[in-house]
C-alpha cells in the first residue's frame, strides 16, 4: 500500500502534464470578454472620407474580425467568412490592423470582401484597445455592444457555430 503512494503521485502528475500538453499557451484569455467594445472613431477602409464610430452597430450583434493583408492565417479563415457573409446570418465587420490602405484593398479585391464595414486601424491603436496581439483574432459582440467571446487564430466552422450560439444564448436570456 505504501509503495503505491509515489506511484499514484506520479500518475496524477502525468495526467496534469497530459492535459497541459493539449492546451495552447498562445491562447491568452481576454479580459475584455464581458466588457463593452471600446468606442472610437475610425476611418472606413474602402471609402476614405467616411469615419465610423465603433458603436454604430449597437442594436444588432456582429462579428468583428481583425485581419491584415500581411497575415497568412487570415487567408486560411477567409473562405469561411465569405460563406458566412452569403448566409446573411450575422453582420461581419472587419478591423484592418496595421496595414496600408492600398495593400488591404488589393487583398479584398483579390480574395473577396465579406465585410459590412471595414474599420481602418493603420497604427494598431484600436487593436491595442482590444488587446489584439496577433491576427487573425475575432470578437463576437452582442447587440448591447458587449464583447461576448474572443477567438484567437483562424476560425473554423465549429468555433464559429459555437460563438454564434454564445451570442444567441445571451440574447435570449436578456429578453
Amino acid at each position: 500500500m505504501r509503495q503505491l503512494i509515489p506511484f499514484s503521485i506520479f500518475i496524477i502528475l502525468i495526467i496534469f502534464f497530459a492535459i497541459g500538453l493539449t492546451k495552447d499557451p498562445r491562447l491568452i484569455p481576454s479580459p475584455l470578454v464581458g466588457e463593452p467594445l471600446p468606442v472610437r472613431q475610425l476611418d472606413e477602409l474602402r471609402t476614405a472620407e467616411t469615419t465610423l464610430l465603433t458603436s454604430n452597430l449597437i442594436g444588432s450583434s456582429f462579428i468583428l474580425n481583425v485581419w491584415a493583408s500581411w497575415c497568412a492565417a487570415c487567408l486560411e479563415e477567409h473562405h469561411l467568412l465569405m460563406e458566412l457573409a452569403t448566409q446573411d446570418a450575422i453582420p461581419i465587420v472587419g478591423l484592418n490592423y496595421k496595414d496600408t490602405r492600398q495593400d488591404a484593398l488589393k487583398w479584398l479585391y483579390k480574395n473577396g470582401d465579406p465585410y459590412l464595414q471595414t474599420w481602418f486601424d493603420p497604427t494598431g491603436e484600436f487593436g491595442m484597445e482590444l488587446g489584439v496581439y496577433g491576427v487573425p483574432e475575432t470578437f463576437f459582440v452582442d447587440r448591447t455592444g458587449t464583447i461576448r467571446h474572443k477567438h484567437i487564430g483562424p476560425l473554423d466552422r465549429i468555433n464559429i457555430a459555437k460563438a454564434i450560439d454564445i451570442l444567441n444564448a445571451e440574447q435570449n436570456s436578456s429578453l
Binding site: 496534469f16 499557451p25 484569455p29 475584455l32 496595421k98 494598431g124 484597445e129 488587446g131 496581439y133
Partner: protein
C-alpha cells in the same frame, strides 16, 4: 488545471536575463523616468514571443507597447496606471510578476505548500526509521544495566 500549467510555465521561464539592444530603445532625459521605463520593460511580457519581456523583443506589437509605455510615462502616468492599462487589455498574463489574487494564489503559495508537504514527508520518514534505532539502544542499555545488576 490552468494554475498548474501556469506554475510549470513559470518554472520553465525562470530567470531568463538576455539583454539585447533594440533599434528603437528609448532614452529619457529624466533619470528617474529612464529607470521606471527600464523596469517596466523588464516586467511586461511580449505577448507574441512569450518568453521575452518587452525589453527583449523586437516584434511589432512589442514596439507598439513600448511606445505606449513611453507616451504614458511622458503623460505623467504612474507605474500602477501603466500596468493597469496593460492588464485591462491583455490580461494578467502580460505581467511577468503576476499580482496576488484569487487565480494566482496557487502560483504564489503552491511552491511553499509543496515545500511544507515535502518537509512533512521527510520528517515522517526520519521518525519512522528512528524509533527502531532508539528501541535497540534502550534495550541494549537495559541489558547492560540488567547485567550490571546481576554481577
Amino acid at each position: 488545471m490552468k494554475i498548474l500549467a501556469f506554475l510549470i510555465f513559470g518554472m520553465v521561464i525562470g530567470d531568463v536575463n538576455g539583454q539585447t539592444f533594440l533599434v528603437d530603445e528609448k532614452t529619457f532625459t529624466d533619470g528617474s523616468n529612464q529607470l521606471r521605463y527600464d523596469t517596466l520593460m523588464e516586467e511586461l511580457r511580449c505577448l507574441v514571443c512569450q518568453n521575452q519581456s518587452l525589453a527583449d523583443s523586437s516584434a511589432g506589437l512589442a514596439q507598439d507597447l513600448r511606445k505606449k509605455v513611453v507616451a504614458m510615462i511622458e503623460d505623467g502616468s504612474d507605474d500602477q496606471e501603466i500596468k493597469d492599462y496593460m492588464v485591462q487589455r491583455y490580461g494578467e498574463f502580460i505581467l511577468y510578476r503576476p499580482r496576488l489574487n484569487y487565480s494566482t494564489i496557487m502560483l504564489w503559495f503552491g511552491p511553499f505548500i509543496l515545500l511544507v508537504v515535502a518537509i512533512g514527508i521527510v520528517v515522517r520518514i526520519i521518525r519512522s526509521s528512528q524509533p527502531s534505532h532508539t528501541n535497540q539502544e534502550v534495550s541494549s542499555e537495559k541489558k547492560i544495566h540488567h547485567d550490571g545488576e546481576h554481577s
